[in-house]
């Protein structure tokens, strides 16, 4: 009897398990989610990550300090310069190094361009997930200009490795200011274009308003950072609270919203693009002249002229190229505000020329943990909008 009633109970509560991903266009990479569905309602969402795990943290341990920089590009491949910056800041903190102002300002300008780049990819793909095709094309049009700027600076469109321990890889190329100026002058009007297509669009509002709400307490407790927190009403930005690389010399606002839904996250990120553009203009107008590498010959490669004419520079060149440089023993945890939130590099040195341990506290990892809260108890059709609003990069999650 009890068996029958038990089976009857399961009969009335029949759920379906749906496997979403790992190859699903709206998971933006290789993310697998196991969804337990009751009709159209999601009862349980279990994310399964690790498909893009490449062991970057392990590989860092066998490279010299300078050789790790190209690996950090591959962590979050949409915000590579933010990762470069966080890593070199951590190592420079261990070395106790002073970085010249020009290099610091260049770093600020380029990481803000990276933020715009990352948000453009997010906006385009988020909109195409929800069905707004044309925004994607406009966003990628501007992104192409940005990639050309990165290529001009570093020779690479995406894997730039432009920031090095001690400064920059190269000085800014001739004519860089005209190119950046041309881009940044017309960029605010381009953001107006995207907003014209989306912000007051009734379909966009219906798909995004009151969708994917998570309370601020939950977000903080689960470890979400960045635009997710700011869209829930907390004005917390590491560029303001723990300024690095001379961010304290720039004027900008921290945009916030209180609704904590998909639409609020959209508004915050669009406003961040405008603020980033303001920072780029300030950096462009006040860019200091002077050296772009620190004056520490045992870390920074000498220029070719000196290397070929001075004995000492040649010795340093040989030492740096063959065995790198040693870093005093110790540990640092450097955090910066990456486009997706709090990016932290924990670097442990044992005094040799290779890092003993590099740990990346990536924003996507923390943000993705809030996904079950966003999906459970809601409709399956809304899951795509919620996922898009998280703005995760799987390379950033899995490392």
């Amino acid at each position: 009897m009890s068996e029958i009633s038990a089976s009857a109970a399961t009969e009335t509560k029949r759920t379906m398990t749906l496997n979403m991903g790992p190859q699903h266009p709206s998971t933006h990479g290789v993310l697998r989610i196991l969804l337990e569905l009751d009709g159209e309602t999601i009862l349980k969402a279990s994310p399964d990550v690790g498909f893009l795990h490449t062991g970057i943290e392990k590989e860092c341990e066998v490279k010299t300090y300078q050789q790790v920089v190209p690996l950090t590009d591959r962590v979050d491949y949409l915000a590579n310069l933010s990762n470069n910056l966080c890593y070199v800041l951590a190592v420079e903190k261990l070395l106790g190094m002073e970085i010249p102002r020009r290099a610091q300002w260049m770093r600020v300008m380029l990481t803000e361009l990276t933020r715009i780049n990352s948000h453009l990819v997010w906006l385009g793909t988020h909109a195409i997930d929800i069905g707004a095709m044309s925004v994607f094309l406009y966003c990628f049009r501007e992104r192409e200009d940005l990639l050309r700027i990165f290529e001009m600076f570093s020779g690479q469109r995406m894997m730039t490795s432009y920031f090095r321990v001690g400064g920059l890889a190269l000085d800014a190329p001739r004519g860089w200011d005209k190119v950046v100026r041309k881009f940044i002058d017309q960029f605010p009007s381009k953001v107006d274009q995207y907003e014209n297509l989306l912000t007051a669009n009734p379909i966009w509002m219906q798909r995004t308003k009151d969708v994917g709400h998570v309370s601020l307490e939950d977000l903080i407790d689960i470890g979400a950072t960045g635009p997710l927190i700011r869209a829930a009403g907390m004005s917390w930005d590491i560029r303001k609270s723990e300024p690095y690389s001379s961010y304290e010399q720039f004027q900008f606002q921290v945009p916030t919203q209180v609704e904590s839904d998909v639409f609020a996250r959209y508004q915050v990120r669009v406003a961040e693009m405008r603020e980033s553009a303001k920072i780029v203009v300030q950096a462009l107008e006040g860019m200091p002249e002077g050296p772009w590498q620190a004056d520490s010959p045992h870390v920074v490669l000498p220029d070719r002229e000196r290397m070929k004419t001075q004995m000492e520079s040649l010795i340093y060149h040989f030492k740096i190229v063959t065995e790198g440089f040693s870093v005093p023993a110790g540990q640092v945890y450097q955090v910066i505000e990456a486009p997706r939130g709090e990016l932290g590099y924990y670097v442990v040195s044992d005094g040799t020329n290779k890092p003993y341990r590099v740990h990346m506290r990536t924003p996507s990892f923390g943000n993705l943990m809030t996904m079950p809260n966003m999906l459970e108890g809601r409709l399956l059709a809304d899951s795509i909008a919620s996922l898009g609003s998280l703005d995760f990069v799987l390379g950033d999650v899995d490392r």
């Binding site: 990550v49 690790g50 795990h53 062991g55 943290e57 392990k58 590989e59 341990e61 066998v62 903190k93 261990l94 106790g96 903080i220 407790d221 689960i222 470890g223 907390m234 917390w236 609270s241 723990e242 110790g330 540990q331 640092v332 945890y333 955090v335 709090e342 932290g344 924990y346 442990v348 003993y356 341990r357 740990h359 506290r361 990892f365 923390g366 943990m369 899995d398 490392r399």
Partner: protein
């Protein structure tokens, strides 16, 4: 033991509420590191969160000091938004059977970080709700971030080349 300068700091003074929990501490490069007795970690974290406004767990990771003993160091990075302060807690575990209590009951953020350490270092966390591998395949043998795990894995050997 703690230096005089360190004992004057607000957090360190407050932690006298958990006597014997703080084993050591240092302040380097403007970062405060406290070494905590592993069996007291949940109590200390609960205290720091509830009484000292460290409401955010920025992350947990581990360091393998093989072949030294105690071999593992579990590293907690706490952050207080209100005080704009960060603090690092270290717990040393020995290599034979590394085990420590989970802080999932304090911050839910600990969930994936502890799974990651379990996966890559083989440190296990008592009372964790779902302690399974997160990044490596389920049937993977070994823990890749341990120092005695070869960089190219066990499957291939590059010794002869």
């Amino acid at each position: 033991m703690l230096s005089d300068e360190l004992s004057q700091m607000g957090v360190v003074q407050a932690l006298q509420a958990c006597p014997g929990a703080v084993l050591d501490g240092k302040r380097e490069r403007a970062e405060l590191t406290l070494s905590i007795a592993p069996e007291r970690i949940v109590e200390v974290c609960r205290f720091l969160k509830d009484q000292q406004q460290f409401i955010r767990l920025s992350g947990i990771t581990a360091v393998d000091w093989h072949p030294m003993e105690p071999r593992f160091e579990v590293v907690y990075h706490l952050h207080s938004l209100e005080r704009n302060e960060r603090i690092r807690l270290l717990c040393k575990l020995d290599g034979a059977q590394p085990e420590i209590d989970s802080v999932y009951s304090v911050w839910r953020a600990a969930d994936w970080y502890e799974r990651e350490i379990f996966d890559l270092f083989g440190v296990s966390f008592r009372n964790h709700p779902n302690l399974i591998r997160i990044l490596m395949p389920e049937d993977w043998v070994g823990h890749p971030l341990r120092k005695d795990f070869p960089i190219h894995g066990y499957k291939y050997s590059y010794q002869d080349e």
